[in-house]
């Protein structure tokens, strides 16, 4: 009660400080939600580009992604193993390096043989077709290429290109494909790197029966991939390697870690700015009450109780600011859940792999981080004024004018 009343002795100062804490906490949470949303988008795009959440490969495939490192199990055996296991989505692919040639240019690409129906929930391509169509089934004899690759090859929809790779006997395997679709993806690099064709068509081209180079699985949330990994690992044999998305794409994986670190740094930086105001407020509050503190000490209050009193006042102030800041953040983020149009800076964002619509993501972890940082650092910032107050000599303090 004493702390509460002390807080409101100087209404204006307290309101200014609470406003500062409120705005600071709001900024911490709101900006974090925006950044989270941006990183989510980048990660989701990255993961949808091909990795999925978990993949299976031949143990050598990642070092030597060639047709010689096929998954030992046949396509039929894979269906028996993974079919009906309740995965969000899963698909098998043939994924080999190859050369694509138009009548004018040649480029090195990764040829991805897919089952379009199984891939639809996993891979971005189906949603990014800007010309023509997506592949219709695994036997589709057409090819889907990226917009940039089409430009580099100086080819276009309806034209034929030749894809050339090697079969398991190291013999040249090539055939002509008609360009049936062109995709425009984020990030742009995928447009030049990947070429998509029907899985069965590619298997025939490479003379590998119904075998594949990778199996990809999708779970509910890329952030909580462990249960999916455990499930796949339990089903997969010892002759394959099972990896999570962040092991498959280290850059994407590091983005999540960098983001977590960045959130903490961001929250601490904002608090440090706030802490000057907080310490100043507390020092002033202590300075104005030297006589009173001296009186309390004279009446028998222990110095440790004085420290507790000042810290409690500080925490009370912070808790009010936190409550208001959290509420304000929630009120401003929730209406924006549908996305914020940032098309004005979309080009720059696209370079980083983010889309022109930003979906703020308010995560409980981030809210907890902001609150804990404010309380812990607030407590530490209060220690100095509180300690000073407790060191007053009652006789000297009580006679201060």
């Amino acid at each position: 009660m004493l702390a509460w009343r002390n807080l409101w002795r100087n209404h204006r100062r307290t309101i200014i400080m609470i406003s500062a804490v409120t705005i600071g906490v709001w900024a911490m949470i709101f900006m974090t939600a925006l950044m989270r949303g941006m990183v989510n988008e980048m990660l989701r795009d990255g993961i949808q580009a091909l990795p999925g959440h978990v993949q299976i490969h031949h143990p050598e495939f990642r070092d030597d992604p060639s047709v010689n490192n096929l998954i030992p199990a046949t396509g039929t055996e894979l269906k028996e193993t993974f079919g009906g296991q309740g995965f969000e989505a899963w698909a098998s692919r043939v994924n080999v390096p190859s050369v694509i040639t138009s009548e004018r240019e040649s480029r090195g690409v990764t040829l991805v043989g897919i089952d379009p129906v199984a891939e639809r929930p996993i891979t971005f391509v189906a949603n990014d077709i800007v010309e023509g169509r997506f592949l219709e089934d695994a036997n589709d004899t057409g090819v889907v290429i990226g917009l940039k690759l089409a430009d580099k090859l100086d080819t276009e929809l309806g034209k034929r290109v030749v894809l050339m790779s090697q079969d398991p006997d190291n013999e040249i395997a090539d055939r002509g494909f008609r360009v049936v679709g062109i995709f425009d993806s984020d990030p742009d690099a995928h447009e030049e790197a990947f070429v998509f064709a029907g899985k069965t068509t590619v298997q025939k081209l490479l003379r590998i029966g119904d075998r594949v180079t990778e199996v990809v699985f999708l779970g509910e949330d890329y952030r909580y991939v462990e249960p999916l990994f455990e499930q796949v690992n339990a089903l997969a044999g010892a002759d394959v390697i099972v990896e999570r998305w962040y092991e498959l794409d280290r850059l994407l994986g590091s983005m999540l870690k960098v983001m977590d670190g960045f959130v903490l740094v961001w929250v601490i930086v904002i608090f440090l700015a706030l802490s000057f105001g907080l310490v100043n407020t507390l020092v002033m509050a202590v300075f104005e009450r030297i006589r009173e503190i001296g009186l309390m000490l004279a009446l028998g209050m222990r110095p440790s109780n004085i420290v507790g009193q000042i810290i409690f006042e500080s925490l009370l102030l912070l808790i009010i600011g936190l409550a208001l800041g959290n509420a304000l953040a929630w009120l401003t983020v929730v209406p924006l859940k549908g996305g914020i149009d940032i098309s004005a800076v979309a080009e720059g964002m696209a370079m980083m792999g983010a889309s022109s619509i930003l979906y703020p993501d308010l995560q409980m972890n981030d809210i907890i981080t902001a609150n804990v940082v404010v309380l812990v650092l607030g407590f530490l910032a209060s220690l100095s004024p509180a300690w000073r107050a407790s060191r007053y000599q009652p006789v000297e303090a009580i006679t201060k004018v």
């Binding site: 004493l2 009173e292 000490l297 004279a298 009446l299 028998g300 222990r302 109780n305 000599q393 006789v395």
Partner: protein, 230 residues
């Protein structure tokens, strides 16, 4: 039983290079239930002696005993405990906590002592009635007269029934009527509860109420008069 005993108490303050002897080999014994006035001109050492007896200030040398316990060598924490449980203070400038009401100011000491809330409220109400502040429980210091504020301070000092009350110029900011009422209150408490009072003052009217008058000059006791005998 001896309420206060001081043996060869010395305390020197320094103003620049100049040493000021606030207490100069003071020897003093006050019996339980005593009503003693310390009288001295400004700078005579009465407040220093009072603060030393109350554990608010430490002497440079000598011994202080309160209720047969030596206190000059106690730690800060133990001194705080002593002040909390055995000594009541009344200061010159009322010294109430401005954000608390009269009742809450009185309850403050009991709160630190850990007295349960209902008992605190009951005792505070009773003591406020005893000092003549019935009905003013919920007033804050700013809404009370100087005399009323000093009565709240007295109520706070005696609510825990300390054996010893130390009052430093308690009437300095009061008019003569309020000063007389306060002193009559002190006398009543002294007589009814056998509380020992040590009052530092240079107010002649206050000295007239004392059973014993101790005069100090330059940190030394120069006169010790039993006014009852006189």
């Amino acid at each position: 039983m001896t309420a206060v005993r001081c043996i060869e108490l010395c305390k020197t303050y320094y103003q620049g290079d100049q040493a000021i002897k606030a207490l100069d080999h003071v020897n003093l014994e006050i019996r339980e239930g005593g009503f003693v006035c310390l009288s001295a001109p400004s700078g005579g050492g009465k407040t220093t002696l009072l603060n030393a007896i109350g554990g608010l200030d430490r002497p440079d040398s000598g011994e202080i005993w309160v209720a047969e316990k030596r206190i000059d060598n106690l730690s800060k924490g133990d001194l705080a405990k002593l002040r909390l449980h055995q000594i009541g203070f009344v200061f010159q400038a009322f010294n109430l906590i401005p954000v608390l009401t009269a009742r809450e100011n009185v309850e403050f000491v009991m709160q630190i002592q850990g007295v349960p809330a209902d008992k605190r409220a009951e005792q505070a109400k009773a003591i406020l009635e005893e000092v003549g502040l019935e009905g003013l429980d919920d007033r804050r210091p700013a809404d009370m007269s100087g005399g009323q504020q000093q009565r709240v301070a007295v109520a706070r000092a005696i609510v825990s029934r300390p054996a010893l009350v130390l009052a430093d110029e308690p009437t300095a900011n009061l008019d003569s009527r309020n000063a007389d009422e306060l002193m009559e209150l002190f006398v009543e408490l002294n007589q009814h509860h056998n509380t020992t009072f040590v009052i530092a003052t240079h107010d002649q009217r206050v000295m007239a109420y004392a059973k014993r008058l101790i005069r100090m000059l330059d940190g030394r006791i120069v006169d010790d008069i039993d006014q009852q005998a006189a």
